[in-house]
Every structure is written in structure tokens, then in C-alpha cells.
């Protein structure tokens, strides 16, 4: 049997799902996350912990850092990577996305087209990471989980992220077109 032309394969693995299907799945999964871990879904805060663990692994210490000064943050760092549910979830996202692109036979290592892309990726990543930490959340933890928790802060985040996206789009058209 030729799997490429199999209807079931095409529907579930090859063709992209609709935005509505994606939204419904995300909503169900974030409820599962809240119910099973006791905390709302977050993504970028995990990377701060990963950074701390890497820093500690090479002999550094974050005990005195304000960001990690709470008892909860210290306990999380103490318990380690393997006991950190959000870390496991992020690993799951990375490997799940990899599996999805393999399953659809769309995996490809892309070429970097120009130096601007390198600069934009590094600079953009640093800005997003820094902003997410001083804002106590990214578009998942602060926006998505904020709104899902009926918190006003999530909506405030949405308004300003939208404004930022407008500025970002203008810059993109100016420097990448």
C-alpha cells in the first residue's frame, strides 16, 4: 500500500490542520497542563531555569540573584531538571514538532539566506527572552494563560503585543524586503 496516497495519512499527518482545530487542541491541552501540574502553561520561564542549571553545572551560583531569590524558585532549581514538569513539556514540544515534520516528510535543514537573518534571529531572540523575563511571561505564560485565567493582565499584554507586532512588521518590511 502506498502510504503517501492514504487518506488517513494525508488527513492526520500530511496536511496542516485548520486554525480552529489547532486552537481547540491547544485549549484542551492547556487545561490538562493546569490540572496535572497545578500551574498554568508557560514556555519561556523554563529557559531561565535551563540557563541557571547550565550556569551551575559550570560552577556558577544563582543563589543571590533576585530572579531566583524566592523559596519556590530555589526549590525548583534544587529539585533539578528531571523533576521539572515544564521542562519536560518543552522537551515534548521540541520533539513533537520534530516528529510532526518527519511524519509529514517535510523536514529540511534550511540555508541561511543572508547575514541580516543571523542578526535578526540573535537580536530578536535576546529581546524576546529579556522582555519575557522582566515582563514575567511570554505570549504563552502572560498572554495565553493570563487570558485563560480571566486575568486583566493578559488582555493588557495582548494590546501592547499587538502594538509591538505593528512596529515589528514595519521594520520587517523595511529591512527584509
Amino acid at each position: 500500500m502506498d502510504i503517501k496516497n492514504n487518506e488517513f495519512y494525508k488527513k492526520w499527518f500530511k496536511n496542516s490542520y485548520t486554525y480552529v482545530a489547532g486552537a481547540v487542541l491547544l485549549s484542551i491541552m492547556q487545561i490538562v497542563t493546569l490540572a496535572s501540574t497545578g500551574n498554568p502553561w508557560g514556555v519561556s520561564g523554563v529557559f531561565a531555569n535551563w540557563g541557571a542549571w547550565i550556569y551551575e553545572a559550570i560552577g556558577g551560583s544563582v543563589d543571590k540573584w533576585y530572579y531566583f531569590s524566592s523559596k519556590g524558585a530555589q526549590a525548583t532549581l534544587e529539585a533539578g531538571f528531571m523533576n521539572h514538569a515544564p521542562s519536560m513539556r518543552n522537551i515534548g514540544i521540541i520533539f513533537g514538532a520534530l516528529f510532526a515534520s518527519f511524519a509529514a516528510s517535510q523536514f529540511k535543514i534550511k540555508k541561511i539566506k543572508n547575514k541580516k537573518q543571523i542578526f535578526a534571529a540573535i537580536f530578536g531572540g535576546l529581546m524576546m527572552g529579556y522582555g519575557a523575563r522582566i515582563g514575567f511571561g511570554c505570549n504563552i505564560g502572560a498572554l495565553y494563560s493570563g487570558i485563560a485565567s480571566l486575568s486583566l493582565s493578559g488582555w493588557v499584554f495582548a494590546v501592547f503585543m499587538f502594538l509591538g507586532a505593528i512596529v515589528g512588521s514595519k521594520l520587517l518590511v523595511k529591512y527584509f524586503m
Binding site: S16, S105, Q106, K108, K110, K113, Q117, L172, V173, M177
Partner: protein
């Protein structure tokens, strides 16, 4: 006589392929064909969607793993 153009968007992330196509179509005559080469799966979704909404004729061909050619014939 309608003409054929290739638009190389390999290695370009969203929304660059879409904006490039929009600019290209503005220069062209009705009946002209643009072949957009993309390797970004999100562009594979929004480029055909946008072009169809504008009323153009669109066909997608998967040329390799994670590489597509989107054929857009300017209809209006």
C-alpha cells in the same frame, strides 16, 4: 501573451514570501504566472490562502521534502 516569472523565496520566513508575491503581482498583467518557491511550511499555508482570497488561480506542487512551488496566475 502572458509571461511567466519565478520568485525565489527559499530560506525566507513568514511573512516575507507573501509580501514579495503581493508586490510582484502588482507589477504584472492579468494572465501572467508567478511561481513562488518556498521552503517554509507556514508560507505554504498563507500564500495560497491569500492568493485564492484575492481571486487568483492557485496550484501547489510539493517538489521535495519541505519544498514547494506555488503557481499563482493573476486573475484580476
Amino acid at each position: 501573451m502572458s509571461k511567466e516569472y519565478e520568485l525565489d523565496c527559499m530560506g525566507e520566513a513568514c511573512p516575507v514570501p507573501l509580501i514579495k508575491l503581493e508586490n510582484k503581482l502588482n507589477e504584472l498583467e492579468t494572465g501572467d504566472l508567478v511561481i513562488v518557491q518556498i521552503d517554509h511550511s507556514c508560507a505554504m499555508k498563507n500564500v495560497p490562502e491569500w492568493a485564492r482570497k484575492q481571486g487568483h488561480n492557485v496550484e501547489i506542487e510539493e517538489v521535495d521534502d519541505g519544498e514547494w512551488e506555488v503557481f499563482v496566475e493573476k486573475a484580476i
